[in-house]
Subunit: 359 residues, 4 copies
C-alpha cells in the first residue's frame, strides 16, 4: 500500500540504502514509446551523489538495468522494471547507530512501527529510494513529451536566501549551469557559498524548490478528492525532508482580497480562453485551466549533521549520537530532479486518467 | 476514482450544491461503535451556512438521515450512508452564469473537462460537498475517541491578521466561543471586524486554519508514498479554496540549520521516548512519533464577490459577470470543522491500516 | 474496501434488507449520457420480488430516486447516487433468528467477524443489496450502448433440467417472455413446473445462468491479474448464492485435446480477423478478441427453506431453526438481471480503462 | 493496474518470457518473519520447467535473488523484491511467429490492444510470469504458517480421467510423490501415461487442480464484492489457461435441493461451532466459517501443439502456423504450486485485512 503511487501510471518502488539496490516497477506506460535510456541516465546523474563539493561524497554511478517492459527499444504497455544496484555502501559507518535513534531521522518511528529496522543509512527511509522515482519520472517525461507538456524545477531558496524573481523573469535553461540548480547565476553563487560554509561548520540548511509545468491542456485533474494540486501536493510531501507545499499564490494569497486574487478570463488572439493573472497556479477546482502550473516545495535541513547530538538508544537510555556518515549539507540541489520526477508522474497519470473519462 | 478517499476507512461523497442533496458512504468503520447522531448534527451545525453575519446567508438546516450501516444504535461494520437534503436552493440566482465563467471558479474547467456542467451554485464543485465530509468526519472522530486521539482546528490567520501564539499558549476549548473560531478572544474580535468590513465592501479575504492532533501513538503512517503528512496534505488540499499545506516547522523551517531544527530524543519519567522540541510536527519519515501532530492550511479568498468582474462566456465573448448570489466573505471560520473532519478521516484510516501491518 | 467495485466505472453500494433502503454511488460515468430513468426502473422490475408464483412474495415496488450526478437529464461526469427505499419489511418475521444461526446463511460468519449483526432478513448479507447493482448496471448498459455492446443473460439450468441448446440456437428476445427467463419456451415451462413443485414442498433448488456479451471490440481487458474473464468471474462470484463460474469451453474444455480446443483464425469478408470456433469464449490471454463473450454462473439452492433445520444459537446450544419468512424457491429467474448488471459494469469499466492505455 | 494484486499483501509482477527475467515486488508483508529462501527455491522448483518427460524441456534453474525487504534474515515490513533471471531463452525458435498469430494464444489480442508485441514465447502473456507468483506465494505461505493455515493443491483431473475420491479420502502428502502431482498413486500413473501419449501425438490436454485450505479461522473475507471466494476465483482465473472456478459444491450443487445442500450447524466437543456437512466449502456469505475451504480450477489444453494450424498473419493473410517451440503437453502438474501460491496470497491478504476491521 505504501510503496505504490498513481492510478493509471503507477509505480512501485523497492530497495534500501545499503541493500542490494533500489528499483521501480512502472505500470500503465502506453505502448509504442521509444525508451530513451540515455535520458533516464541523464536524470539519474542529476540526482546522484558526489556531483560537487556541496553534495554528499558517497560515490554511486547509479547505473540502471531495464528488466522488462521494452521490446526492440519500444515500450510494450507492460510493466517497466528498472534496477539500480548499490555500490558504495559503507555500512560499517552506521554500526554506531544500530541501537541508537538519530534525532529527526526515521530510526525511532520505524522501530516503533515494525519492531526492527535496517539501520544502515536509514534503510528504506533513506532518500536513496528517490533514485527509483527519478528513473520512473524520466519515463513519465517521455509520455508527457508526446503531449507537449514540460516540467521544470529549480532551487528558489536556501536558508534565508530567497530568490525574489518569478520563473517568468529567468531563463530556466540556466538551472543546470550551476551546482545549486538556481537559474539566477548571481543568486546561485551566493547560495553555493552559503551551503559550503554550512558544510564546513558540520551543519545543514533547508531550502525551497519551485516547479513549473507548461503545456498542460485544460481538463486534467479529477473533482473532489483527486484534485490535480492535491495529488501534486501528496507526491511532493512524500519526498524525504519535505515540510510544505503551496501552489499558485499559496500561503501569501491568504492576505489578498478576492478582488485582487481572482484571475479574470479573456479570449486570446488564437481563440483560446486564458486568464490575465495566474494566482490560481493553472488549476481551478482541482482541474487544469491551461495556464502554467507552478508550486513551491519546502525542504527542512538534512537531519544528519557532523555534530554530536543528544538522543536515546533502544533501551531508552540517554546517549550522544556521533556526527558520522556522509550527507548533503543542503538537499535542494539534488531534490530538483526528484521534484520534477514526481510532478511528471502525477501529470502523466492524470493525462492518461483523463482519457478514461471521455466517452 | 475522484470522489473516493481512504484505504480502510473509505468515503465516497456525492451530490451537488443545488441538486437533491449531498451524501456520503463511509466504509470500513469497525463494528460496535455507538453512533452518536447528536454529535454528527453538532459537527454539521459548525459547518452550516447562516451561522452569523460573517457567513453566507443561505439557510440550510443540514439535517441528515442515516440510510444504512447502523443497527440498534451501533455500527455493524457495513457501509454507513448519510444523506443531507438541500433546502434553500435559490437556483435562479445562478441563471446569469448558465453560460458565463466566473473568475477563479471551476465553471470553465468543468466545462472543458466534461463538455457540460451543472452551473447552479457550482454544482459538484461547490464547497457544499464538504457537508458530507463533515458528517463522515464525525464518525471518524468516534473511532478516534476509542483510540484516545483528538483533533482540534482553529483559525490562525485572516488576511494579514496573523495569530502569533502557538497552540500550546491558548485554550483550544475557546475556539467555539466566537464566530471566527479563533481561540484567542482578542484576536478573534479583530478578525471578526476585519471580515465584516470586507463583507461590506462586497469583497472576500483569505485565511489560515491550524490543526492539532493529540494522543496519536507512535507508528501510524506508511513509509514512502503514504507518509502520514503526505496523506494529511492531500486531504487538506482537496478542500475547496486550499492553496497550501505545511506541517511542523513548515516553510519557516527551511531557514533553520539542522543543529537548530533537529528534535533531540529523551526518555520521560514514564519511560516514554519523547522529543525536547517538535519541529518535526509529530512525524518522522512519514510515521507518527507520539508527539503532537500540527499543521497549517492556507485558504484563498472566496472567488465569489459582490462586484462585477471581467470574464468570457461559453462562446468566448467578453462579458461582465455580475456580483450576485450568497457567499462567505471569508471561508476559514466554517472551514475549521472541515479541516478537522478530513484530518480525523486520515488518522482513523492510518489507525486501522496500522493494524493490518501487525502480525 | 468490500462494498466497492471497479477501477474507472466504480460502484459503492450500501443498505440492508430491513433498514431504510438500498443504494449505490456510481463514479466514473462519462458526462453527456442521457439518463433513461424508465430503463433503470425496467431493470429493477426484472429483479424485484413478487413477480410471479415462483418468486418470493415480499412486495417491493423498488422505486428509486436519483440523488446526484444528473443535470437536465444528462450525466455530468460526477457521482450518480441512486436510492431505493425499503417498504415491505416485516422485520418481526425474523425475531426467531435474532440469536440463532440459519444453516448456510451468513448469520454465523457475520457474527464471527463483527461481533454483532443486523439479523433482520440477513441485513447486509441479503440479496436485496443486488437491487443497487441492477440500478447501477442499467447505467452501465447505457454506456455500453454508446459502444454498440449488448449483454444478455438467461436461465440455462434449474436443478437437473439443463438446456442443451446453445445461445446461437435460440432467440434471446424470448427470455423475458416467461417467468423463468429461459429463452426456450418448452424448457421454460418444465423449469417453471419444477420450481413450483419445489416451492410446494417448502424446499429450494439451484440453477445456472448463462450470459452472452456481443459487440465487444478486440482489446478490452488487462494482462496478468485483471484479465477480462478474471474480473467477470469475481463480479459473478460476488453475487449471493453463486458457487461457480466458467467461460467459453469452461470445465468441459478440460476434456478436449489442444487440437480440438484451439480456435483457428481467419479473415472474414470485411477484413476482420475472426475465429472459426469460439472455445475461448471471446477472450485470449485475458483480452477480448472481438468474438462473443459467454459464460455460465452456478447458483446454489436458496438457503431459506420452509422446513425446520438443526442449528445452534449464539450460546452454542442446539436449536431447531423454524422455516419462516418469505423466500425464492429458486433464485435464477431473478438472478438474470443481476448477472447482466454485473457483466455490464465489468465491461463498461474495461471499456473506459482501455482508453487510459492508449496514447 | 493490471500487474498488481491484493489490498494489503500486494504483489506487482514484471518480466517477459524471453526478456531479462521475471520478478515480483511484494508489499505488506509484516515485519519480523524469518525469510526461508530454501523454501522459496523449493516452491520455484515445483513449478520450473524440465521436471520430467511430461513437462516442457525448456531448462531454467529459476534461481532467484532477493533485492530488498530483508535484513539479517528477517522481513522488515518494506517491499520484498525478488528477481529470477531468464537463462534458456531460445528466442529464435519464435521468429516464425513474429508476424503470425498462434491460435488460442494472446498474440492477436496483445497486438490489437497495444499495436505491437514481444512475440518471443508470448512475451508478457507467457505463463513464465507465474514463476514470480510462486515466489511471492512462498512468502505468503510463511505468513500463513504464523496463523496455522495450510494450503494444499493437487491434480484431480486430466482430460477425461477424473479422480472421484475427495481430498479427505487421500493423503495429500502423496501429492509430491509423482510427476503428475495426484495424491492417488494409481490414478497418478494413469494420468502420467495419458499425458505422455498425448505428448507423443504432438497434442495437449486439459485438466483440473483441486485446492484445500485448512486452519482458517472464522471471519476472513469481506462482505459484498470482496467475498473470500470471489477473490479466490479472480486469483485463479488470472492464471494462464484457466477456464473455470467452483468452490464447495460448485456446479454440481445446483442440482441439489436446499434441504440437501444446507450445512447444519452443531457445537463440537471443544465448544467450537462446526457444520455437519461442508457443501459451502468453508465460506458463508463470502466469509470463512472455520471449515475447510476447497475449490476446483479448470485448465484448458495448452494452446501450443506440435501440429500445423490454420491462422492469419498481421496482414490478415491466411497462414499455416508451424508446430514449434517447447511446451507442456498438460499444464496441471506444474499448475499445482501456482494455484497454491495464488490461494496463499489471497488468504494472507484477507488475514491481514481482517485485522484492519477490528477496533
Amino acid at each position: 500500500m505504501s510503496s505504490t503511487y498513481g492510478k493509471i501510471i503507477k509505480i512501485a518502488t523497492f530497495g534500501e540504502s545499503h541493500g542490494v539496490g533500489i528499483g521501480v516497477v512502472l505500470e500503465g506506460c502506453p505502448a509504442g514509446i521509444a525508451l530513451d535510456t540515455d535520458f533516464i541516465q541523464y536524470e539519474l546523474d542529476r540526482r546522484k551523489p558526489g556531483q560537487s563539493r556541496i553534495t554528499t561524497q558517497r560515490r554511486e554511478a547509479d547505473e540502471f538495468e531495464v528488466l522488462s517492459g521494452v521490446f526492440e527499444g519500444k515500450t510494450t504497455g507492460t510493466p517497466i522494471a528498472l534496477l539500480i544496484r548499490n555500490q558504495d555502501q559503507r555500512s560499517k559507518d552506521y554500526s554506531h547507530i544500530a541501537t541508537q535513534f538519530r534525532p529527526s531521522h526515521a530510526d525511532y518511528t520505524y522501530q516503533a512501527k515494525y519492531g526492527l529496522r535496517d539501520y544502515r543509512g536509514g534503510g528504506r527511509s533513506s532518500a536513496r529510494e528517490t533514485a527509483a522515482r527519478v528513473a520512473a519520472g524520466a519515463v513519465a517525461k517521455m509520455i508527457l513529451q508526446h503531449a507537449g507538456i514540460s516540467v521544470n524545477a529549480y532551487v528558489s531558496q536556501v536558508g534565508k536566501l530567497r530568490l525574489e524573481k518569478t520563473y517568468q523573469e529567468m531563463d530556466l535553461a540556466q538551472t543546470e549551469e550551476n551546482a545549486v540548480r538556481c537559474p539566477d547565476p548571481e543568486m546561485a553563487q551566493r547560495m553555493y557559498d552559503y551551503i559550503d560554509e554550512t558544510r564546513k561548520k558540520g551543519d545543514s540548511i533547508g531550502g525551497v524548490v519551485t516547479c513549473v509545468i507548461q503545456g498542460t491542456p485544460a481538463g486534467l485533474g479529477e473533482p473532489v478528492f483527486d484534485k490535480l494540486h492535491a495529488d501534486l501536493g501528496k507526491a511532493m510531501l512524500s519526498i524525504n525532508a519535505v515540510k510544505g507545499f503551496e501552489y499558485g499564490s499559496g500561503f501569501s494569497g491568504v492576505e489578498l482580497y478576492g478582488s485582487e486574487h481572482n484571475d479574470a478570463f479573456y479570449t486570446d488572439e488564437t481563440g483560446k480562453v486564458r486568464t490575465k493573472t495566474n494566482n490560481s497556479g493553472g488549476i481551478l477546482g482541482g482541474i487544469s485551466n491551461g495556464e502554467d502550473i507552478y508550486f513551491r516545495v519546502a525542504f527542512k535541513p538534512v537531519a544528519t549533521i557532523m555534530q554530536d547530538q543528544d538522543s536515546v538508544n533502544e533501551a531508552g537510555e540517554a546517549v550522544k549520537v556521533q556526527g558520522k556518515g556522509r550527507h548533503d549539507p543542503c538537499v535542494v540541489p539534488r531534490a530538483v530532479p526528484i521534484v520534477e520526477a514526481m510532478a511528471a508522474l502525477v501529470i502523466a497519470d492524470f493525462y492518461m486518467r483523463h482519457k478514461a473519462t471521455q466517452l
